[in-house]
């Protein structure tokens, strides 16, 4: 395991900001690697939810094709939401989150590193398995690139907004359901634009404008979400 963040509060000079953020990032990846079930569950959930839709609405290819962008995006939203608890709850339980707050580095940057690790463990795998599920729903091949691109731009926003909800519900009873209540309404714009981009490129319309709007939301979330998350962590640790 890389450097323990606890070391930074000892007498030794604190590591540089980038190095500290890198340590947090790699540590989260290493922890997840050793608890791989935590990482796989949301992915399996994603696959199951998408596969349930044809069972519910019938195997009609035309209907499934028109529903595919929405179903894929809603399932990705739910799978991300399911994985949000993992972001801080282990660190909260074993006290390492407190050490992170006490560390001399700005908490917003540390939060950003943790969110990045969460995205690598959730967003990227979701994106990678989405084409397989898209084929199941008869999504036209032309829309496949847009699906990947929209998930690439959209899932970091889901992780960033989700981090606020995860931090606010740390240590609360019924935290899991509460996170969904807090976070899902905030996810609506990204769902609209993500599914809209895929749907429009499935019907042969250029989706660049929608993807740009999603990029704008990513920039906005990247700037402000870590601040809110850091504030929420401080409140939760009080």
């Amino acid at each position: 395991m890389p450097d323990n963040p606890a070391r930074s509060i000892s007498k030794a000079p604190a590591p540089s900001l980038l190095r500290a953020a890198g340590c947090v990032f790699w540590r989260d990846l290493a922890v997840a690697w050793r608890r791989s079930a935590d990482v796989l569950t949301p992915l399996v959930f994603f696959a199951i939810v998408v596969s349930l839709f044809p069972l519910g609405v019938g195997p009609e290819p035309n209907m499934l094709r028109t529903m595919a962008p929405g179903v894929l995006w809603v399932a990705a939203l739910l799978a991300t939401m399911l994985s949000l608890r993992r972001m801080f709850s282990h660190d909260y339980a074993d006290g390492s989150l407190e050490l992170l707050v006490l560390a001399p580095h700005p908490l917003t940057v540390m939060v950003l590193a943790k969110v990045a690790a969460h995205w690598v463990l959730t967003g990227i795998p979701l994106m990678l398995i989405s084409p397989v599920l898209a084929v199941q729903l008869y999504l036209p091949g032309e829309a496949m690139g847009t699906l990947l691109l929209s998930l690439l731009v959209g899932t970091p926003v889901l992780s960033l907004l989700g981090s606020v909800g995860a931090a606010l519900t740390l240590g609360l009873r019924g935290g899991g359901v509460l996170v969904s209540l807090l976070v899902l309404p905030l996810y609506t714009p990204i769902l609209i634009f993500g599914a809209g981009a895929v749907a429009s490129s499935a019907t042969g319309i250029e989706a660049g404008a929608l993807l740009s709007l999603m990029g704008a939301m990513l920039a906005l979330a990247l700037t402000f979400a870590p601040i809110a998350t850091a504030a929420a962590i401080r409140i939760s640790l009080d």
Partner: protein
Amino acid sequence: MKITKYASPVIFYGFSGKLIPWLGALTALLLGVGLYLGLFVAPADYQQGESYRIMFIHVPSAWMSMFIYVVMAVAGAIGLVWKTKLSEILASACAPVGASFTLIALVTGALWGKPMWGAYWVWDARLTSELILLFLYIGFMALEASIDDPRRAARAAAVLALVGVVNIPIIHFSVEWWNTLHQPASVTKVGAPSIHPSMLAPLLLMAIGFKVYFVTIVLMRMRSTILLREKHTRWVNELLETKS
């Protein structure tokens, strides 16, 4: 005399207690006159007949639903920055009132939609963003209810309200965009650009009446929260002794 002195719960409690009867009477007057003008005096609409009159409830509640969320977020921000107890109490007192106005706007919208659009629910942009606003209010209240320490609850909820207030415009415009993509120009927008003064007057009276009602109710809610939170202090105990 400084205005900050009213931030003290003791002074605020006494001051708001004197204010509430006047505000209550003003609410009754405004809503009474507004409803009378709206339901009996204003002429029937040439297109929508009598059923447009639900507008006098629907439109002010929709205005209030958004206004109250902003009040809540600003109060929450002030509470976060200056750690003033009173603004935390104000924010938490706003939430149920705002949620109720949102629900009223949704229900009256559905009832109005049935004769106008032929369906109780249309995925109209404004209806949808109002629904999401209701979810945001519910999230705020759920978060606040699940934290036992009231001050920590208030601060956590304030962060959520601030995130929400940044998101509301984004949600609103994305929903508007989404609706135009899915059903172009088929939605009959009711809001006519010009409105006759005989209809505008009751609408504005109702809007002001709802605002005064909101202030009255929030003051009442804040007073009971203050009593609850300060129940171990001497002034509350003295107050209870003189009352009983």
